[in-house]
Each structure stands twice: as structure tokens, then as C-alpha cells.
Amino acid sequence: MNTKTLLSLKQIGKTFSNGTVALQDMSLDVHEGSFVSLLGPSGCGKSTALKIVAGLGNLTTGSMSWPTASVDPLGRPDHEISFVFQEPTLMLWATVFDNVWLPLRLKGVKKKAARAAVEEALEMVGLQDFAASYPRELSGGMKMRVSIARALVTRPKLLLMDEPFAALDEITRSKLNDDLLRLWQKMNWTVIFVTHSVFESAYLSDRIVVMAARPGRVVADIAVDAPYPRDSSEFRSSPTYTNACNSASKALHAAMLSGDHM
């Protein structure tokens, strides 16, 4: 495994103009090729943190750096980032195909050249038959899957996923979990993955970061020391997995109590 640092957040803070302190003094180093899960109560700042990493928001305090990438004057790295937003965020006026094609299209890939990649991505999320549909003709989970396909189609260096599987049934979800892991290994991606499922985080990631709410901050950083590929049933009954789940659960409980949440 790689230990170069891809991304480094140093005591970042984000305060919205209505006074909400979404993040405070959050520090996090993400290694290249790692799979980091972000776990935390609703409203603790996970989405905010992800957007900041993606370069979509201004910091109020602190700094963010990309030690191994060259950056432009505004601090954006020169490599590909993909993002599965928490909401599907589809273009309503475009078909499923065109929605997934978009990131390629922005790079100048023509429809014909993009077809294979788009269809592969759609197949992965089980929507090969809906390429010509419009978003309004899809169910909630199907929309989310289009969004996932769109993120995967570019083969990014860094993949940010904000609760991508929350709207999916467990079988689809576990299939996609495995697909994602396979791709991640094959492509040597780095993934930051927001989830609400302790089990999912323990199964997928090599590191679980638990956050507490208002101010959003890191309260636990749990390594899941198990090699990939992980055999599903075997790994799920291993002590590493159980320990990781337990630590994460405990940290989450503690976080719930420490924040002003509920």
C-alpha cells in the first residue's frame, strides 16, 4: 500500500453566514490509494467537508493542500475528481445516457467514442435498459444510480461519494459495494466515502473517520487492517471487522452525546 499523502486538511473551519459552524479545526490526511469512510450524525458536516475537498467551497479558516499534485492558482489539483452528491443532481432535460456522458463530453469525447464507457457504467448500476429515459421517469434509487454511473465513467483519481447507496435496496447495495471495491483496487483510486452504515464503512474502507456535530470535527480515526480483496462472508465474521464496527459504533455514540445533536 501507498503512503504518499494525496490530500491534507489542516485545521479547516467553515462557518456559514447564518452563524452555523459546520466545521471547526478539522484536520485529515488522506493517503493515495486509500479508502476512507466518513461517518457521523446527520448534519455534522460530512457533505460540507466533501465539497471543500472537491474545491466547491471556501474555507473560513485553515488550509487544504495537495502535496503530490501540481495545483492551479486557486489551489485546485490537476487530477480528476469525481463526486457522487448526496442528491442525484441530474440534468432534467437530458436522457440518462446524456447525463452519464456529461463528464466525458466536457473533456471533448464525442458521443460515439463515449458510448462504450457510458454503457459499461450504466450496466454496472443496472440501468442499461434506461439509457433513453429522462430522469423524471426514474424511481428515486434509479436516479441515484445514474449519478453513481456518472461519477464512475471518468475513472477519476479521487472519488468522493456522499451516501451513494442510501437509497438502494440491500442486494443492489452489496453488489455495488463489491463492484466499487473491485474498481478501486484495479484503478488505484482514492475514495472518500460518506455513509451512515457502520457495517458498510467497516466492510469497504481501510480507515474510518468518525465526526461529531456542530462544530463538525474528527473524533475518531479507526484503521481497518485487513487485506483486499475481502471475502464478504469470511471478512464479515472476522474479529477485525467486528472490532472496527464496534469501535466505530462507540465513537459514533460518543459523538452524538458530545455534539449539540438531538
Binding site: 475528481i81 463526486f83 452528491f85 442528491e87 443532481t89 432535460w93 430522469p135 423524471r136
Partner: protein, 281 residues
């Protein structure tokens, strides 16, 4: 709904279907009834108040004039429509072009929007002579006048639409490194479409009005002159039925233009925009 299997629908569904059918018929029947009532009302008004024919002619008389002067009126309509559609085309190009320009930065918008407003609020009748000092072609002069009247709604609505793009999608564009132009092309323009088409519905009528005002202000008469001239002439000659016939023709044209714009709207939006999709759930 297609291919309904042949299972019996229950009473409630039948009732819903009946309501839907009535709605479908009413949508066409009621307007016709209203039109007929309007015409009858107009006729009764004239008769009961003994309105002289040279003030408001009875509908029958206007119809006669319409039939009698048909070829004259229709050729004038043609001239007016030429200006109208040329002006509308320019209004679309100009309005959307300026909106895109203004969307590039707050600076540009704040610097040049005032000039667009000045154009909108300056009465054509006042600047037409100035235009004609510097523009030799009468057609182009008329076009400029009609354009000035028509472009603003498109500009204003499109500007609003370009700003109304979903910010999550804007973020997504940014993330994938879309250029300014790509963001415009793939996100802002489609988002602005419903607003633009709304502006187009307004501008359609305005370019007709603009063409007529321009003719009033700047159109010399003679062969090949438009409906405004026919109205002026009929009004001057006290041929009020013909004047009304010309006005009716304008109204009717306006309605047709509006319907065309509505159809265009439907065409572009029915697949995805709330205002146009047929709700199925």
C-alpha cells in the same frame, strides 16, 4: 397511457375518465362558445346603444369588409409579418446574446444593462427619426424599431433563467472542469429555456406591435405597405369597418403567433419541465 389491458376499470376510475374527457372537450368547446358570445355581445351592444357604424361597426359589417378587402389586407399583413418575424428573430439573437454576455460577469451586466433598459424605455416615436437619419434602408430602419420594442423581455427573462440554474449542477460542472462556455452550453442555457420561452411568448406579440408602431412612425405608404398603413388609411378615410377588419387581422395574427410560441414551448419542455409535462402520477 398506452396498451391498457382489457381489465374492467372500476366506477371511480370510470368517473375520473369521464371528468378527463369532459375536460378535453371543454377545452375546445368553451373557447368557441366564448367567441360566439363575444361577437353576439358586440353586435347587441351596437344595436342597443345605437352605436353608429362609423364609431363601432357591427360584426357583420366588419366581416364584409374583411372579405371584400381580403386581398388588400392579406398583402399588407404579409408586409407586416415580414418585419414582425425578422424583428423577432433579431430579438431572439440579440436578447439571448446580450443575456449570455451579461451572464459572463456582474461587471458586464452592471455596465451594459442600463443601456438595454434605455433602449426599452425610449419611445420609438422619438428615436425613429434619428434612426432614419443614419439608416438608409427603410426595411432596416423598421426592423430596428420593431427590434427595440421586442428584445427586452427576451433579454430580461433569459438573464433570469441563466441565473436560475440549480447550484448543485453548477457545482458539478465546476468539479468536472467545465469551461465557462461548456457550463453555458450544457447547463445554463437548458436551465434558462423555460424562462426564455416565456420571454418569447411576450416578445412574439411585442414584435408584432413593434412592427406596427414602426410602420406608424416610419413607414411610408404606397404599394407593399403594412397593416399599420391600412389602418391609418382606413381611419383617415373614415372606412371604419375596414379599420376594424385590419385590427381583427392583427389580433388574430397575434393569437397565432402566441400559439406558435406555446407550441414551441411545449416541444422543448414537455419531456422535462414542470410547466409542460403531462402529469402521470
Amino acid at each position: 397511457m398506452t396498451d391498457t389491458p382489457n381489465l374492467p376499470l372500476d366506477l371511480v376510475e370510470q368517473r375520473k375518465a369521464r371528468i378527463a374527457r369532459n375536460e378535453r372537450i371543454g377545452r375546445w368547446l368553451l373557447p368557441i362558445i366564448v367567441i360566439v358570445l363575444t361577437i353576439v355581445g358586440w353586435d347587441r351592444f351596437c344595436v342597443i346603444n345605437e352605436v353608429p357604424h362609423y364609431v363601432i361597426p357591427r360584426p357583420g359589417r366588419v366581416l364584409e369588409a374583411l372579405i371584400e378587402d381580403w386581398s388588400l389586407l392579406i398583402s399588407s399583413l404579409g408586409a407586416t409579418l415580414l418585419i414582425t418575424f425578422s424583428a423577432l428573430t433579431l430579438a431572439i439573437v440579440g436578447g439571448v446574446g446580450l443575456a449570455i454576455l451579461f451572464a459572463q460577469s456582474k461587471w458586464v451586466e452592471m455596465s451594459f444593462f442600463p443601456y438595454a433598459i434605455m433602449l426599452q424605455v425610449t419611445p420609438i416615436i422619438v428615436i425613429a427619426p434619428l434612426i432614419f437619419i443614419y439608416v438608409d434602408s427603410k426595411f432596416i430602419g423598421l426592423l430596428i424599431c420593431a427590434w427595440i420594442v421586442a428584445f427586452f423581455p427576451i433579454l430580461s427573462n433569459t438573464t433570469l433563467g441563466l441565473k436560475s440554474a440549480d447550484h448543485n449542477l453548477v457545482d458539478m460542472m465546476k468539479l468536472y472542469g467545465a469551461s465557462r462556455w461548456q457550463t453555458l452550453r450544457f447547463l445554463r442555457l437548458p436551465s434558462a429555456l423555460p424562462y426564455f420561452l416565456g420571454g418569447l411568448k411576450i416578445a412574439g406579440g411585442l414584435s408584432l406591435i413593434g412592427a406596427i408602431v414602426a410602420e406608424f412612425v416610419a413607414g411610408s405608404g404606397g404599394a407593399g405597405s403594412g397593416l399599420a398603413f391600412r389602418i391609418l388609411e382606413a381611419s383617415y378615410r373614415l372606412n371604419i369597418p375596414r379599420m376594424f377588419a385590419a385590427i381583427l387581422l392583427i389580433s388574430f395574427t397575434g393569437i397565432l403567433i402566441f400559439m406558435a410560441m406555446s407550441f414551441l414551448s411545449w416541444l422543448f419542455l414537455h419531456k422535462w419541465h414542470e410547466s409542460a409535462i403531462k402529469r402521470e402520477m
